[in-house]
Symmetry: C2
Subunit: 348 residues, 2 copies
């Protein structure tokens, strides 16, 4: 894969991977060395199961929780899997959106969860209120309050997954549902998952969980048995990046780059794919398009034309979404996105 149209000509609107030109290479080069100079004897050894202390403190302050409630994991998928192992037994009713993150669906199914739609009460509910994968949509304030209040009414543990939260192109940030739960004295229902893979660099593998006090010891025991210690050096390196104030200028550059890509995608869809409909995402990596044709059949023909995307059905918890597609605008250049959509339009 490459940030420009590769020789083979395949344009990927499939994977939620950042374009290499959006990675803060020079900054992380300095931070890698700085983390070892500053704290190498700690950062290069085993750490506690929750990860590098100063990073946990930085995140705890940002989220308004105690540092012990923050568990920095080797990527957020592993954290999500630890949560699922802890909270879901075969038959546990787990609420999910009709279309939702495919890897989360697979993990929940593998754990034997009984998936139920949002309208039904559930023991656990998996939500992505901000820059949803795959839909790209963001819940407004009232919908967040409604989520929190429904969780309190039903005693549902909410797993709020927000890896794209920092990648906002327009509009004002909203409180997380976890914050709304804590404000209402229901912090024991608030589980939050995020990552720096989408906002800084996937190769660091720094995800994190913010969990209620009641879950800390259980998750730490599971971490010790599963991987002993997370990659402390990468966490120290990321902490140096955050501590030096490099996050905000980096996010300004990344969101500008992603917005340009989103705009190219949206303009190309409007121009080349008549009959397609979508909600323009205000951030994140993905646009969810309803197509006038079957997406799986289109993908087969698109591959022959050197274009890849994710058909919607893979994200559908209860079936359907056959005419939908998840289009990622994070990987390709604006020019490649336009060319990819032009080819799709010819096929539609």
């Amino acid at each position: 894969m490459s940030g420009v149209v590769p020789a083979a000509g395949t344009i990927s609107l499939a994977r939620g991977v950042p374009s290499p030109d959006l990675l803060p290479l020079a900054e992380l080069e300095h931070c890698a060395a700085a983390a070892i100079r500053r704290d190498g004897r700690v950062a290069l050894n085993y750490g506690g199961p929750g990860g590098y202390g100063p990073l946990r403190e930085w995140l705890a302050e940002r989220h308004g929780v105690r540092p012990a409630q923050v568990l920095a994991t080797p990527g957020s998928m592993l954290g999500l899997n630890m949560l699922i192992a802890e909270l879901v037994e075969p038959g546990t009713p787990v609420g999910v959106d009709a279309t939702t993150y495919d890897r989360a669906l697979r993990s929940l199914r593998a754990a034997g969860a009984r998936l139920v739609p949002p309208s039904e009460p559930a023991r656990v509910r998996y939500v992505q209120p901000t820059f949803h994968n795959p839909s790209g949509e963001t819940l407004g304030f009232d919908a967040r309050v409604a989520l929190a209040e429904a969780a309190i009414r039903d005693g549902t543990v909410l797993i709020e997954d927000e890896p794209y939260g920092l990648l906002r192109f327009e509009g004002e940030p909203l409180p997380t549902v976890s914050e709304l739960l804590r404000e209402r004295g229901a912090g024991e229902l608030a589980v939050y998952s995020s990552s720096f893979s989408k906002s800084v660099a996937p190769g660091l593998r720094v995800g994190y969980l913010v969990v209620p006090e009641t879950l800390v010891a259980r998750l730490e025991a599971r971490i010790l048995a599963t991987y002993v210690s997370p990659p402390v050096l990468a966490q120290a390196q990321l902490h140096a990046f955050l501590d030096r104030g490099l996050l905000e200028p980096h996010l300004a550059r990344v969101t500008a780059g992603l917005r340009e890509r989103r705009d190219a995608l949206v303009e190309a869809l409007a121009e080349h794919v008549p009959g397609a409909t979508w909600t323009t995402p205000a951030g994140g990596y993905f646009l969810w398009a309803e197509l006038p044709v079957d997406a799986a059949a289109l993908l087969e023909r698109a591959r022959a034309e050197g274009v890849a995307f994710e058909p919607g059905a893979g994200f559908a918890a209860f079936g359907g979404a056959e005419r939908a597609a998840r289009l990622a605008f994070s990987w390709e250049s604006p020019g490649a996105l336009r060319e990819g959509v032009r080819r799709l339009g010819r096929l539609v």
Copy 2:
């Protein structure tokens, strides 16, 4: 914890953790930056499930296998857990030594393995032929051949765990049992697990598996579902360290430091703990001592005197080892080791 006697006075002979003065701080500082300069666009992004290509190639050459057979994992415990999930179902007979690595025992039990002693045929067998944890012992050539031939006779998959293999103080390296299996045309039974946590730095979290071709696709699918991608940057950093020829001089320094600690421990045991017996390890982190008293009772009193160690019973697969102790000499300075053993001797 600290490399010298800490203020609180607790001397730890318990944890298998390297002393910070054995970590290659300056070298890794340079390699961190070099890895990003050289290959940052790859190293800072997601990688394939098997890890950073050049590291897999380096390891494949060292082990005489194809790069696809090498899976670099975020620490070897996670790799071992992936293997156990793949190979062990409830009731699977798994051969283990009478005393063996406590975390492996816990993972095998959690997977429902039926643990059987080495004398019984098994579907899977977990062995540590080199610098065994906890015994510190190393199998000779003939014993390795016998292990390989028994595995071939019974069709047993051997999981050979060798994280301490590079830390040899004296004597010549021996072929791994995996190599002996491959030489005998039984590579499908050879599963090898190792790590750079003990030999370079735990904070990198770079473990690796060398597996038969038949297991590659299954493990890669499991990795994708569990953690998507390992920490590629740390693997690229380690590869820069290896590629620049820094491993051999570093190992010379580390083994000298560990040998000095082992010698201090052995001399102190001989001087201060009459009635204790042990086999002096030729490498690794641990010495296994048979004591003239109950180890758990001794530990309770030792803690009050500011000394910690691991009682043998936690490593015993089938009970016993009540009078044994695992003494780690990796963490404390030679002086602290002597003082710790002096205190133990007073209590014995």
